[in-house]
């Protein structure tokens, strides 16, 4: 609507020049306030919702029959549930990375995608958190994982990484929610002030807490926002490190290796950025957000994918090299024999193709600038990183120390139904979010308008007063 008045998009812009405070507010706010319900929204929501129903049905069946409906059995006691858990939580990490780390690094290209990325984090963590709980066998007793004075006189086993996981994931979910909500408060106030419908005004008004943009409030707000970013950054690293320790603190060959924490974190960011690209590319096309999510954003995402993909490759290389050098027969068997040449070799080879070989095309600019190709590659990486967790979980377990207990593992239809079901949960939440909340931070876009418009003659300043 405003595009005709705006200047053409320069190649490296993170915001189309010519936007004003009013125009960005209007454009983003109207997505929520003015735009009517559209058929394509209903189609997307409907697909998500029907998959969500699949999830509920599979979970209900699981509650009734127990984990026997899944493919897990001795010796593979960790199957899809753990694979999906790690996959989802990794996807969540990109959101925090974009919103927190890029904020600390003063990368202004984060501004237009951070809200969306944070929402993605929340929804991915919701999907991730579900799997360990469903995997418990008696999910209704999940609260046994928490430290509270119970009639059993027991406390959680603090030496177990699985308990660290409980704390890490729940802290992560809480902090992500707080970070997201604090970022939303000024935007909720904007929506409150712009909504015409009385009930919408009231609804946004309640959650805006009466925000009125006072200078003193902004002063505290920026401090807290920077501090939350500062806290979220090591938190994200710790969460996936703890996930890595779930494996590494054990003694299983192929799991017990010191490089796991950083290499899992890199893998998480790798798959997370792929997921951001998978979602952002159709979203900006459907919702006309190309002014805000520009080609520059996509190119940067490709660079991050390339970098983190290389770290993952470094991890693979070090694992294999140290297995050879350390000469532990079990370690050697898993890493140099069973994974590349064993019964799951095809999975391992596909993983290598998707995670190590394919992303190397991002060295070339044409690959980072072709939207269709980026989207295709993002799917490839998503698949590759799912397979990585599958390889790690299954190939270490299915042939354990005792050859007589070797067996094969395959997911059952309920494993797949639960997995696709969480994709439905994610999609449903995402479509609700798109409909009811601003997908781009309006307040921060106004700041970006201000900064890009006043580039000259302004002293260099760093945002916030946090360190």
């Amino acid at each position: 609507m405003h595009n005709s008045e705006l200047e053409p998009m320069p190649p490296n812009a993170v915001l189309r020049p010519g936007h004003t405070f009013a125009s960005v507010t209007d454009k983003i706010g109207s997505l929520v306030l003015v735009r009517p319900y559209e058929l394509k929204w209903f189609i997307g929501f409907g697909i998500g919702f029907s998959l969500l129903m699949t999830l509920l049905f599979s979970a209900a069946r699981l509650f009734y029959y127990g984990v026997g409906i899944w493919g897990i059995d001795v010796p593979v006691m960790w199957g899809f549930a753990i694979v999906n858990f790690v996959w989802w939580i990794g996807i969540g990490h990109a959101g925090t990375l974009i919103s927190a780390i890029l904020l600390l690094l003063k990368q202004e290209w984060r501004t237009s995608i951070n809200r969306f990325a944070e929402a993605m984090t929340l929804f991915a963590v919701a999907c991730a958190g579900m799997f360990p709980l469903l995997h418990l066998g008696r999910p209704w007793l999940f609260f046994w994982l928490l430290p509270y004075p119970n009639t059993m006189g027991l406390w959680p086993q603090w030496r177990s990484p699985l308990i660290w996981d409980v704390f890490a994931v729940s802290t992560y979910a809480t902090v992500s929610l707080l970070f997201w909500y604090v970022g939303l408060i000024p935007d909720l106030a904007t929506l409150r002030d712009r909504a015409r419908n009385k009930w919408a005004k009231m609804g946004y008004g309640v959650f805006a807490l009466g925000w009125r943009g006072s200078a003193m409030h902004w002063h505290r707000y920026r401090t807290v926002y920077m501090l939350l970013a500062g806290l979220a950054t090591p938190l994200v690293v710790s969460v996936h490190s703890v996930v890595a320790l779930d494996f590494a603190a054990s003694l299983m060959p192929g799991w017990h290796t010191t490089v796991f924490p950083p290499y899992f974190v890199a893998g998480a960011i790798f798959s997370g950025f792929a997921m951001v690209a998978t979602l952002a590319i159709p979203l900006r096309a459907w919702y006309g957000l190309k002014d805000f999510i520009t080609d520059k954003h996509l190119e940067n995402m490709c660079k991050v994918m390339l970098a983190t993909g290389l770290v993952v490759a470094y991890g693979y290389m070090m694992e294999a090299f140290m297995a050879w050098m350390g000469n532990n027969p079990n370690e050697k068997f898993v890493l140099l024999e069973n994974r590349p040449f064993g019964p799951y070799a095809h999975t391992w080879r596909l993983m290598m193709l998707c995670n190590v070989i394919a992303p190397q095309v991002f060295w070339f600019k044409w690959a980072r600038t072709n939207v269709y190709f980026i989207w295709f590659m993002s799917i490839v990486v998503n698949i590759g990183m799912w397979l990585e967790r599958y390889v790690i979980v299954i190939t270490s377990l299915h042939r354990d120390f005792l050859p007589s207990s070797w067996s094969m593992y395959h997911g059952t239809v309920w494993d797949y139904a639960t997995y696709y079901g969480t994709i439905g949960l994610f999609t449903t939440l995402l479509f609700l979010f798109i409909r009811f909340l601003p997908v781009i931070s309006i307040a921060e876009m106004r700041e970006l308008v201000h900064e890009t418009g006043h580039k000259h003659g302004r002293p260099e300043t760093s945002p916030g007063s946090a360190s």
């Binding site: 030496r159 809480t174 009125r212 200078a215 902004w218 938190l235």
Partner: protein
Amino acid sequence: MTHHETEAETVYGIMAEFEHEEDVLEAAEAAYARGYRAMDAFSPHPVEGLAEAIGFHKNRVALVVLLGGLTGGLSGFFMQWYTAAVEYPFDVGGRPYFSWPAFIPITFEMTVLFAAISGVVGLILLNGLPRPYHPAFNAANFATASTDGFFLCIQSDDPMFEAEAVQAFLTEFEPKSLSVVPL
């Protein structure tokens, strides 16, 4: 002085609306230099230096976050030490009861959790929120304070407050609009 008192009972302050953030910054600095203290400025996004211009320099939320983080970390570590080494000492794989290396991850998570929660709670409480009703919302055009309007309000509880003088003072800065905000 009776005139002043009645005003203080019915008027929240005088609100001036500006189009650019430089203008509100200038007006705020001038008002502070003139001696006004009870005032507030409103903007749709954080304006560098605006809080300082109205005389607000240090906020205590960073301290709140630090204290929250320390509380969380210490209580997290204490909880693990007490339950694993004192309350129910329990041998797992020959590890010591006080397995401090294994207590570090949860100590870290608790630090972050408490720091983040105290930061957000501190932000909301120190800002006096939730406050869905506020006299400032009575000002003309105040809805634009969340879009592209910049406002400066000199409040009636300032000892120097006199409606005419304040209005005359604010008019010097050529505000887009000027309104008396009822309480």
